[in-house]
């Protein structure tokens, strides 16, 4: 079982058949720094698509060794997106990573019905594995980045993705907490209603094996003492592996709070695509960026 992000990065190093990563519109200091580190760690092979001269400028500035990469010049970001997505689709690359290109343009290419990378009928969502010193294990949280107000079907997809990711870390039957402001059921809170339905779906085997409960607040999800004090009978029991949030606006500040105030690090990626797609915020720490690439290696069909 992988119990920390550091361990994650170790495990995906030095594999025989390294995943090949295509980087879209690569002339970005943040991106190139993380990619170089991953290449040097012998995690991936990288194929940069971008403006050659600007990439060379950055390489000089950051003292990157461009010989570590395959480099292909493209004229603009749209071309970069189309070309990298095509490459992944045709099996010439195993992982896609976003560079300087705008997220909307990047996702447009990923989501394209014919040429894109979505699994059939899949929901696009985002799962993060978070490593915080004050919690006794890794915490998978969703959705920090994509779905603003997930409906029931989308919440089910989010749960499935998080369970799938936890599975790759070696966690069988993860404890899934469906997060709300309180543990009480009320039909006036659509999220609570969705949660009750999901719990029953999990009970009936309509969701992959897991121990699910919700609504639960963060304390009941992650703090055994609170469970005792409140006397709530919950199978998650303050020992959650996965936190599923009702909205992006709840989840995003939560994870950023953990990063900023909880000395947390993360590894996150898009889910619902045929291959791992790495997309991260600029404000992520150097370490977290590196972990995001490590995660994509773990989640890649290669080496499994």
């Amino acid at each position: 079982m992988i119990t920390s992000l550091e361990q994650l990065a170790e495990i995906v190093k030095d594999r025989k058949d390294k995943p090949r990563m295509a980087v879209t519109w690569a002339q970005d200091e943040n991106t190139l720094g993380a990619v170089e580190k991953a290449v040097k760690a012998n995690m991936i092979e990288a194929w940069l698509f971008g403006d050659r001269s600007r990439i060379e400028d950055i390489a000089r500035k950051l003292r990157l060794d461009l010989d570590l990469f395959k480099l292909q010049h493209v004229n603009n970001e749209i071309e970069a997106a189309q070309e990298t997505v095509r490459l992944v689709k045709s099996g010439e690359a195993d992982i896609l990573m976003k560079g300087l290109i705008g997220t909307d343009k990047f996702l447009k290419a990923v989501l394209d019905k014919e040429k894109g990378l979505m699994k059939p009928k899949a929901v696009l969502s985002y799962v993060c594995a978070v490593d915080v010193p004050d919690y006794h294990k890794l915490l998978f949280i969703t959705d920090t980045a994509v779905l603003p107000f997930p409906d029931l079907d989308q919440k089910v997809a989010m749960a499935e993705y998080a369970i799938e990711m936890a599975g790759k870390f070696g966690i069988r039957k993860p404890r899934v907490a469906l997060i709300g402001a309180s543990e009480k059921m009320s039909k006036h809170f659509q999220n609570a209603v969705d949660y009750a339905v999901m719990c029953k779906m999990a009970e009936r085997g309509q969701i992959s094996p897991c121990i699910m409960d919700g609504p639960l607040d963060i304390f009941l999800a992650c703090d055994k003492k609170s469970v005792e004090i409140k006397g709530v009978d919950t199978p998650v029991g303050g020992d959650a592996d996965i936190l599923l949030f009702p909205s992006l606006e709840a989840c995003n500040p939560f994870y950023k709070g953990l990063m900023l105030f909880g000395r947390g690090e993360l590894a996150g990626m898009l889910m619902g695509t045929e291959v791992p797609v790495v997309l991260m915020s600029r404000s992520e720490s150097e370490k977290s960026k590196f972990y995001c690439i490590a995660l994509s290696c773990l989640m890649s069909g290669k080496n499994n």
Binding site: K184, M185, K187, V197, C199, R204, D233
Partner: protein
């Protein structure tokens, strides 16, 4: 406690004061017959309100003893309902029963704001069956009163029924919320409500019972079927109470149990200040008698 036969309800009456029953529009051969029989068996102590001459004639025709039974002579059917309801309201009677008066007329008086029998709870129909092929009595609700209950109404119906089952000595009744399937299906409201009711029960927002649903009829009553489908449930196969999604399902199930399975049934209306026996013409004399027994057993 587990009850297997309706006749076991007699035991619940032992060492308890006589329950007083008032029969509205008592000049009705069927309900009068059941009441007089129940009186003879010391199940209830009746007061008959209606056309006294006709009441005496019907009793004589059926060879039933009416000596010592109080009769209030009232020819106006509407008035019999009013008097009967007021007696319950004033705690002069513990059980109300409908005779030869329309259900809507009696209900109007039951729901009267000043002297009716409202408690703030929803009125709901509760039926309990003795079926040879099931290992204990099984209650079914609501087959006759609430047409298409919403979530809030379903909670009230469960609460009514659970208190009633508690009075029958069944402490933590197992409640199966019925659906067409045991899976949650977004396009079937009954299955969504079932999931919510289960969660509310888990969170102690619905107390004194164990709720699971959706369960299809087969896995609600047959453990074998539940195991076959891989359902892990405390309720499946051992249900005490079946909650119906709506009146159509409930009514058809009720009648099929009676007609095809030859089940015995007793039923009362719950949620009012006292149990109300509102049997229909198509109910057998035995069903009416058993309903009186049930009402007496659950009256306060």
């Amino acid at each position: 406690m587990t009850l297997k036969k309706l006749s076991e309800l007699h035991k619940l009456l032992d060492n308890k004061p006589f329950k007083r029953l008032v029969l509205a529009a008592a000049h009705d051969s069927q309900s009068l017959g059941a009441v007089l029989k129940a009186a003879a068996d010391r199940i209830v102590q009746p007061v008959l309100i209606g056309d006294e001459k006709e009441i005496r004639r019907l009793a004589g025709e059926a060879n039933q003893n009416i000596e010592g039974i109080k009769i209030i002579n009232e020819h106006d059917v509407e008035k019999t309902s009013e008097i009967a309801v007021k007696m319950v309201h004033n705690r002069e009677a513990d059980v109300l029963m409908k005779g030869k008066v329309g259900t809507s007329t009696l209900l109007k008086h039951i729901l009267d704001k000043n002297w009716g029998l409202r408690t703030g709870n929803l009125l709901s129909h509760f039926a309990i069956f003795e079926v040879k092929t099931y290992h204990k009595l099984i209650a079914v609700t609501d087959v006759a009163m609430n047409i298409a209950p919403n979530l809030r109404e379903k909670i009230s119906i469960i609460n009514n029924s659970v208190s009633c089952l508690n009075m029958l000595g069944i402490d933590m009744p197992k409640v199966a919320v019925l659906g067409a399937v045991e899976m949650v299906n977004e396009s079937m409201q009954a299955t969504l409500d079932a999931a919510l009711l289960s969660k509310m029960n888990q969170r102690d927002q619905i107390k004194n019972c164990i709720i699971d649903g959706p369960l299809a009829f087969d896995n609600a009553i047959s453990l074998e079927s539940a195991i076959h489908k891989g359902i892990k449930s405390e309720v499946a196969g051992d249900t005490d109470l079946l909650l119906m999604p709506d009146i159509e399902v409930g009514n058809v199930l009720y009648k099929s149990l009676v007609f095809f399975a030859k089940a015995k049934v007793a039923s009362v209306i719950l949620g009012a200040a006292a149990p109300i026996v509102l049997t229909s013409r198509s109910d057998s004399e035995q069903a009416k008698y058993d309903s009186l027994l049930l009402a007496a057993a659950t009256a306060k």
